[in-house]
């Protein structure tokens, strides 16, 4: 169980957010500039908002404490794949594995994200989709209790997105994921639980189900969601 109650000023925007999320994948949507990324960074401890963050039994932030990022069991996948360019793919994975306080099954995670063949490669020689898969594996290898993903597919082409989307679903079966996106179609394929952030506040909306809808209807839904 993840409990978040955070508020603060983000530029001109007064952010005030309170929600709970359980296992599986919860999507966080909203127009650009609504504070999605700031919220995610604040949950990770990369940015400071006032309030409370609790993941399982661990209190990451409360009135009297602020656990630094490196002491939080958090995984973070950034918008652009942020692999360490001075390390190989395997070096990037081992960086996380060596510092993880838990015993993590490296082989299983490598298989899950299908990056076995990439291990000896240099980061610079990977495609965008490959990089993001390695970044996800690296985040999982640090043994997170919560995985934060900030529009991890937005810099990828259609083919790479289609390839990674099911992998994200698989990942969310083993660790709770909070997933920021502005793409309603993407979100509809991932989860039924959606939090909308608008003008710094959250509202829960009825989940969008795509099953049985025609392409035209899906597109209309997408346009409506984008317009809001």
């Amino acid at each position: 169980m993840i409990q978040v109650d955070l508020s603060g000023m983000v530029g001109d925007l007064a952010l005030s957010v309170r929600f709970e999320a359980g296992a599986g994948l919860t999507a966080l949507m909203g127009p650009s500039g609504s504070g999605k990324t700031t919220l995610l960074r604040a949950i990770a401890g990369l940015e400071r908002l006032s309030g409370r963050v609790q993941v399982g039994d661990a209190v990451w932030q409360a009135e009297d404490r602020f656990v630094p990022v490196q002491k939080r069991a958090v995984g973070y996948v950034f918008q652009e794949p942020s692999l360490f360019s001075h390390l190989s793919v395997e070096g990037n994975l081992d960086f996380a594995l060596r510092r993880s306080p838990k015993t993590v099954d490296k082989g299983a995670i490598v298989d899950l994200l299908r990056i076995g063949a990439l291990l000896p490669r240099q980061v610079a020689r990977l495609s965008g989709g490959e990089r993001q898969r390695v970044a996800m594996a690296r985040a999982l290898l640090s043994g997170p209790d919560l995985l934060l993903m900030d529009e991890p597919l937005s810099s990828l082409d259609q083919a790479a997105r289609a390839e990674i989307l099911p992998l994200i679903r698989d990942v969310a079966e083993s660790v709770p994921v909070l997933y920021v996106s502005h793409d309603p179609l993407e979100v509809a394929r991932l989860t039924q639980r959606v939090l909308y952030l608008h003008n710094g506040r959250l509202s829960e909306r009825a989940a969008v189900t795509l099953d049985g809808l025609s392409q035209a209807e899906i597109e209309a839904l997408a346009l409506k969601a984008l317009g809001s």
């Binding site: 990770a44 990022v69 490196q70 942020s82 360490f84 960086f95 510092r99 640090s142």
Partner: protein
């Protein structure tokens, strides 16, 4: 001549690692933000680039001379003056070459941006761990550039060294001063020999820098030759 070459190489070999060590926290701090305090410090660090070496040498001579308050502090330890000593020469070189070490390292840290360190933090690396395992290796090109620039710059020093070193053969006489004295004595053969050697050395140093620049990708980190 060989004495002067020995002193010069020793000076550069001592100055370079010392200066990289000194410049690292300074470059790190300068890369981590803006503000008038940082701007002022950055300007002071850059002063040796624009200041005539003799001016720098003059102040260093005063500071390292027997009547300076700095030396008064060292007198209980039996040090009366550092002027005209090899140690004084090293101190002068450190000040003189400081911007050539700080600038490329600072640029490398700035080019890296905050993201790699944020990633490291989310992977449980403490700030100290992240500095050694991420920031330093990512900035390695800046360090190679800084090391080459400082080494080459120290070898070519003249004004500062003349002011605080006084050209004592075997102790503070370096090659650039040796050339000057050879010409004064109309010993053109020796002047040719040392000058040619320095020219070749400088060219090779710049070539190495260019090759490193190419090797490590397109992003510029440091002063380009």
């Amino acid at each position: 001549m060989w004495e002067a070459i020995r002193v010069t190489l020793l000076l550069a070999a001592v100055t370079t690692p010392l200066l990289l060590l000194l410049a690292t926290p300074l470059a790190w701090w300068l890369a981590k933000g803006a503000g008038w305090v940082r701007d002022t410090v950055a300007a002071v660090v850059a002063l040796p680039i624009v200041l005539p070496p003799t001016v720098l040498g003059f102040y260093l001579l005063i500071a390292l001379g027997p009547h300076s308050p700095l030396m008064a502090l060292l007198q209980p330890f039996g040090v009366r003056t550092l002027a005209f000593t090899f140690t004084g020469l090293v101190i002068g070189s450190l000040v003189y070459s400081l911007p050539f070490a700080v600038q490329p390292i600072r640029n490398a840290f700035e080019a890296m941006g905050p993201r790699p360190l944020e990633v490291a933090a989310t992977l449980r690396a403490s700030p100290w761990d992240a500095f050694w395992s991420v920031a330093l290796p990512q900035a390695r090109r800046g360090y190679v550039t800084a090391a080459l620039l400082v080494f080459a710059h120290t070898i070519g020093e003249f004004g500062v060294v003349l002011m605080i070193g006084g050209a004592i053969p075997g102790q503070t006489e370096v090659v650039s001063i040796r050339i000057f004295q050879a010409v004064e004595q109309l010993n053109f053969a020796e002047a040719h020999l040392i000058s040619g050697g320095l020219l070749a050395f400088s060219f090779v140093a710049l070539m190495i820098m260019l090759v490193i620049d190419r090797r490590f990708g397109a992003r510029s980190a440091g002063i380009r030759p």
